[in-house]
Symmetry: C2
Subunit: 343 residues, 2 copies
DNA sequence: TTTAGCACTCTATAAAGGAGAGTGCTAACA
DNA sequence: TGTTAGCACTCTCCTTTATAGAGTGCTAAA
């Protein structure tokens, strides 16, 4: 079966109307709302063909058609025109993000809120991967008796605090000495490198000053722990509740459950091989829980290096055009802003 | 109408059974499940009395009774025995919190997760109020060209990072000088005091070193901004979905909506006048959205000073006994642990 | 190739008819 | 006087039945 121009128009009409109304679309509706210049009967014939091709399906015999996953896929790949954002929306993003970036943590929050507000979907934003950014510097500051505050700065600007126990009789000078050693050894190295071999080197260097060994070991542990390194920030979780496909609480629970599994979220967002926009429709997500959802993600780069990613999650019946353009605009904006931030 | 011993037992039976089953409770059920030694008919008479007193009500004529808000109130005040936690549960709390407190931020997370797991309700934990804790020390560290990292440590151990812009030609020594001044002026003072008058003093002191004025001003701004000072951490939001009273998405939306309003959450949790356990049932919460919910909060103290609070939110039909004991045990544990932490 | 007409299918909604649970009242009983 | 058994009554919930409406597929005509 060939995909001629009119079939495309019919498919597009079905997708657009279904996205807008969440109701199965009948031939009559299409003839009325979309000006194809043919009668419902003709459209019915085309629809039968489209169904044979697996692009649309019928919930039951006497209902209209809804797009199948392949139908959405075809729409996204071939029919969809990326809606460019209105000036108002662009301004909205720019005034809210571009001018306010100060700390990495809060800008991730901001991003997720913006994206969810603009799309009415749930936004997922991965914090810039701390693990991959090399050490920049380590400071050890006095904190409380027998405790020190370790401030770790990565080259990407991320800052981490850790409180560590130190012996009662560790002096300010001891701290100074340890941090000097750490700085000289760690600077410019990624976590992986530190883990893989450098650790023993530092260890032996410090061995000269026996008292400090245990401190140094404990001290490195939290930074190296890969568990805390990156996390996913959600925005507009409740937008899910507005989707008619989740008016049943049981279905809702399934989807919302994955929002509490940090691990799963990370896997969903972790940049796939190719950079740029990725659309995963329904079953294309390997996760059981979101078979009825689509996930749109995009990565952003600085100097060609992938930093992190932004995504939206919603029902397969989502406004792909809008969602794609928001996510894409967001990531390019972020790329630019962060570049400026680092220079 | 008098509240005799048997009426109390009947009311207690109704509350307990309704909490367990979420179904209106009939006289027959009470006679069967609870050993009151009287027939259903007698219980029916008592129930009619309890209804006259406004403690229970009927959804419709041929249904059993459910506790009214006043009924719950009477139960909580007079009938409820605080269930003491099992050793297993205590151990669970202690191994998970008591031994792992390191950083204030993460322990709040931990607390909320524990409480929600133990109660199957939604936990709310207020971060220890930063605003009220006096300055302990300020460090200014080099960060990036023309940016510095300011690390503020409060006396309660809270650590805050702020990235601030500094002039291109600010030297390491300048930073040192500013931080010395700030430390000497701010140490031991609360934000309120700083705001109310000290600001100008610091300003004039720094005026001698003109270049640093603008830096110092900008530097203080983020710490003083009351907006970021405390926040509420939620745990087990999705437990709401398991409650039969929220199987309707519309009702659910109402409740979940307030979880996105940070402002409202804070107000709910902000310690009321009296310290200790507070139970607010249904309409006793002034918030429109949670008329069908009850909120249990408790504060914890260190050396008699109220630090912060922990709460749970759930439908009015909640296991008050369990919830109260978990919240109370949690706050006393936290009080002890934090005391140890500071000493 | 397109279209009008029509019989057919299926859902969603309303109406109708029990079954079941629970009550309130009355009268008997200890 | 307090308690209990019995019974008529009420109301919800579930199932069944009927009906209207939307949409299709097929056929035959344009």
């Amino acid at each position: 079966m060939q995909m001629d121009e009119r079939k495309k128009k019919v498919l597009q009409a079905i997708v657009l109307d279904y996205i807008a109304t969440a109701e199965p679309v009948g031939s009559r509706t299409i003839a009325r709302k979309f000006d194809l210049g043919v009668s419902p009967a003709t459209i019915r014939n085309e629809m039968a063909d489209l169904e044979d091709m697996g692009l649309i399906e019928q919930p039951h015999t006497s209902a209209g058609r809804i797009p199948s996953n392949s139908g959405y896929r075809f729409y996204v790949d071939c029919l969809m025109k990326m809606a460019s954002l209105t000036d108002k929306e662009k301004l909205f993003i720019e005034t809210n993000v571009v001018h306010k970036i100060r700390e990495l943590e809060s800008f991730v929050q901001q991003t997720s809120r913006l994206v969810s507000q603009l799309t009415n979907l749930t936004a997922l934003v991965l914090t810039p991967v701390k693990a991959n950014s090399p050490f920049h510097q380590v400071h050890l500051l006095p904190y409380q008796p027998s405790k020190a505050l370790m401030v770790v700065v990565k080259e990407n600007g991320a800052v981490e605090n850790h409180v560590i126990d130190i012996g009662e009789n560790t002096t300010q000078e001891d701290l100074q000495r340890v941090s000097t050693i750490l700085n000289s050894k760690l600077k410019g190295l990624t976590m992986e490198k530190v883990k893989s071999g450098l650790l023993s080197e530092i260890y032996s260097e410090l061995a000269r000053q026996k008292d400090l060994i245990s401190m140094a070991m404990e001290l490195l542990e939290p930074i190296l722990d890969p568990h805390e390194q990156d996390k996913v920030v959600l925005g507009g979780t409740l937008n899910m509740l507005n989707q008619p496909e989740f008016k049943d609480v049981e279905k809702l629970k399934n989807v919302l459950r994955i929002f509490e599994e940090d691990h799963t979220l990370k896997k969903m967002l972790t940049p796939s091989s190719e950079p740029g926009l990725t659309v995963r429709i329904g079953g294309e997500n390997n996760l059981e829980e979101i078979q009825d959802c689509s996930l749109i993600t995009a990565t952003y780069q600085i100097d060609g290096q992938t930093i992190s990613s932004v995504g939206v999650l919603g029902p397969t019946r989502m406004d792909y055009s809008k969602a794609c353009s928001v996510v894409e605009f967001m990531t390019t904006s972020l790329g630019e802003v962060l570049k400026r931030y680092y220079k």
